[in-house]
């Protein structure tokens, strides 16, 4: 091999596709006979078109996941799935807590990367004349891009409190509203978090990053409601009008979560031999959930997840301040209520039925969103009769969706659905097709005002680099997992 040659892991989909059988119009199964060591079949949720567009890495990776000790029912891949590290993005796997493993590769480097959605009582006609000013204000006040430092200065002890309690710390320090907590997955606090299981290196990377957006595909976006598919549920979520303005936020635990993931990936790789575990990919390194390594990682990961919930909390506080200054009204008067905050890179201990019996499982969701239906105990009381909101972030050009979890979700996918539209083109390839400046001007002509810390970064996020988000959400609705409530269309975007 030399610098001008390389293997392409995304090629040769045809061999994988020949092993796939259709089990419903939107589910495709790969049997355990596909690969030595598979303990359960793999199941991919997709339309035929989405399936055919998936890269070969998805088939390889989802079947590798199916080999992990203690995995239950199926290794799943959502319709926005694509190649990831170890697990595919869009991967869902549930392991028995006593016999199974936990794997940082099933959660992702950006622990608790997730979405938050806030409503306003403004309509497009109110915002349009001030859109440029609004986006520029948001860009100035929400730090983004390479190496950005946050606006909340913390001591070591305060950072430890954030890691332990999540957004509650922020609300106690006037950086949010009480109601925000209930409208956050797990009320924003995974209780097993333990700062002692987190390295000094991770703390050094994270302590200055609370309140930063990051870069890559992270953004905050001003959107307007488009089609309202379910008026009753949309109203419960605070969306009553087409053209109503909402704000969507996508970011995670920043360098802090990445360092936690890196630390434990190395520790797990060293420990696997001790437990007699072999995996098909070093990024699938894992340890028994009940082992010292497994428990330490779970507690550290929970801390990084809490930091991510807090990061989004602090940014939403800034968003409320920016709207208030631009529109000359308080955030309360602008009815800037949080619809929900949901993680899409996380592992959680949950109870699910397997073979008719309730089992305690560690559910890995990597690029996948929890989507519990109505009546589930984890759904906040304000939504208990309708189900949990699910926020699906699309590309900055094509729009996003607000969904709701359906009753069948638990049985079908351990209560998990897609997380976004899913990339279909690499960053490097997208950048060769369009320049950031040209894209910015072209989007402005279509009424989408974008500010970015990086013009090449903007080009990498062009809409054509992503799958058809409507096909993704329709797939999961057809599967009886999550249902469309409102389509959301971008009008302003701040990118890292």
């Amino acid at each position: 091999m030399d610098i001008d040659e390389h293997e392409n892991p995304r090629a040769n989909t045809s061999q994988a596709l020949s092993a796939v059988t259709k089990s419903s119009p939107v589910t495709w199964d790969i049997p355990t006979s596909y690969k030595k060591g598979m303990l359960v079949p793999a199941r991919i949720f997709a339309t035929q078109k989405l399936l055919q567009e998936m890269d070969a890495g998805v088939f390889e990776q989802v079947t590798n996941v199916a080999c992990l000790p203690g995995i239950q029912k199926h290794a799943y891949c959502m319709p926005d799935g694509h190649w990831g590290y170890g697990f595919p993005i869009g991967g869902v796997a549930a392991m028995d807590v006593d016999e199974g493993v936990i794997s940082p590769g099933g959660i992702g480097f950006d622990i608790n990367c997730g979405m938050r959605l806030v409503t306003t009582n403004l309509l497009y006609k109110d915002v349009e004349p001030k859109l440029k000013q609004l986006v520029e204000t948001l860009f100035r006040h929400v730090p983004s891009g390479v190496g950005a430092k946050g606006f909340v200065k913390l001591t070591q002890s305060e950072f430890s409190d954030v890691v332990t309690t999540g957004p509650k710390w922020c609300i106690d320090h006037d950086l949010g509203w009480d109601e925000d907590l209930e409208r956050t997955e797990e009320s924003g606090c995974i209780t097993n978090a333990n700062p002692e299981k987190i390295s000094d290196k991770a703390v050094a990377r994270g302590i200055n990053q609370l309140g930063t957006l990051g870069s890559g595909n992270h953004y905050l976006e001003v959107q307007i409601a488009g089609n309202i598919f379910d008026e009753k549920v949309a109203k419960k979520f605070g969306i009553i009008d087409q053209n109503q303005v909402v704000v969507m936020l996508h970011c995670g635990s920043r360098g802090f979560g990445h360092q936690v993931a890196t630390d434990y990936l190395l520790r797990f790789n060293a420990a696997m031999q001790k437990y007699g575990i072999t995996v098909n990919d070093r990024e699938l390194a894992c340890a028994p959930f009940q082992s010292d390594e497994g428990q330490d990682y779970y507690q550290a990961m929970a801390g990084a997840a809490n930091m991510a919930f807090a990061n989004r909390q602090v940014i939403v506080h800034r968003i409320r301040e920016c709207f208030s200054s631009v529109f000359g009204k308080s955030a309360e008067d602008l009815a800037m209520h949080q619809v929900y905050d949901v993680a899409h890179n996380i592992a959680k201990v949950e109870n699910h039925k397997v073979d008719g019996k309730m089992r305690k499982l560690v559910v890995h969701r990597k690029g996948a969103t929890r989507c519990f239906g109505p009546g589930e105990p984890e759904v906040p009381s304000c939504y208990e009769n309708i189900g949990q909101p699910v926020i699906i972030g699309g590309s900055m050009e094509t729009g996003s969706y607000l969904l709701v979890g359906m009753k069948g979700a638990r049985d079908q996918t351990f209560g998990s659905t897609a997380h976004g539209s899913g990339r279909t083109m690499s960053r490097a390839a997208a950048k060769k097709q369009v320049r950031g400046e040209a894209l910015q001007q072209e989007m402005a002509k279509r009424g989408i005002f974008v500010k970015s810390a990086s013009m090449p970064g903007l080009a990498e996020e062009a809409g054509f680099a992503y799958k058809d988000i409507s096909a993704v959400v329709d797939t999961m609705e057809q599967a009886g997992v999550s249902k469309k409530v409102v389509a959301l269309r971008p009008i302003g975007n701040v990118k890292g």
Binding site: M1, D2, I3, D4, H6, N8, P9, R10, D55, G57, H82, W83, G84, Y85, G86, I89, F109, D110, G145, V146, G147, K149, K201, A204, R205, N208, Q209, G214, S215, G216, N217, R254, G255, H258, Q259, A261, T262, L265, N269, D281, R282, E283, R423, T424, M425, S426, R427, A428, A429, K432, A453, S454, P456, G457, E460, G496
Partner: protein
């Protein structure tokens, strides 16, 4: 500082690069340069400050992983990025590295930012000897 190449079709949501060098010193320097150049246009980074990194590992592969991870750590904690990188590797019972890096503090007003590298991954990570020297393949998480 040459010589690395981004692979268009490998890391779909992130960035994969191949770097090479006539020896390990050059390979490590080129790989480090690639990481910095992914984060920002290194042509806009002036050599205002100098930083020395010393690391030791059993294998070259692990040493490269630690070295590149250290650059990500320095970017996040001290806010430093580099455009001039010299590396000396000494192989004995273990592999030790001394790197002298020159660059400056991150400042969007002075430098052209690109993508924030948040982790060096083990996915497809490799280092190998070639007919003409050494080569490595690295996927960075964005």
């Amino acid at each position: 500082m040459p010589r690395y190449r981004i692979l268009d079709d490998v890391a779909i949501a992130d960035i994969c690069f191949i770097a090479e060098g006539k020896d390990l010193n050059e390979l490590f320097a080129h790989a480090a340069f690639a990481v910095e150049d992914i984060m920002m246009d290194t042509k806009t980074v002036k050599p205002r400050v100098e930083r020395t990194i010393r690391l030791e590992q059993d294998k070259e592969e692990d040493l490269l992983y630690d070295f590149l991870s250290e650059l990500v750590f320095i970017k996040d904690t001290d806010g430093l990025v580099f455009s001039d990188i010299k590396v000396t590797i000494q192989k004995g019972k273990t592999c030790s590295l001394t790197a002298v890096l020159r660059g400056e503090t991150l400042d969007p007003n002075r430098q052209t930012l690109r993508a924030d590298v948040k982790a060096i991954t083990l996915h497809m990570f490799k280092i190998e000897k070639t007919k003409t020297g050494w080569l490595c393949q690295v996927v960075v998480d964005i």
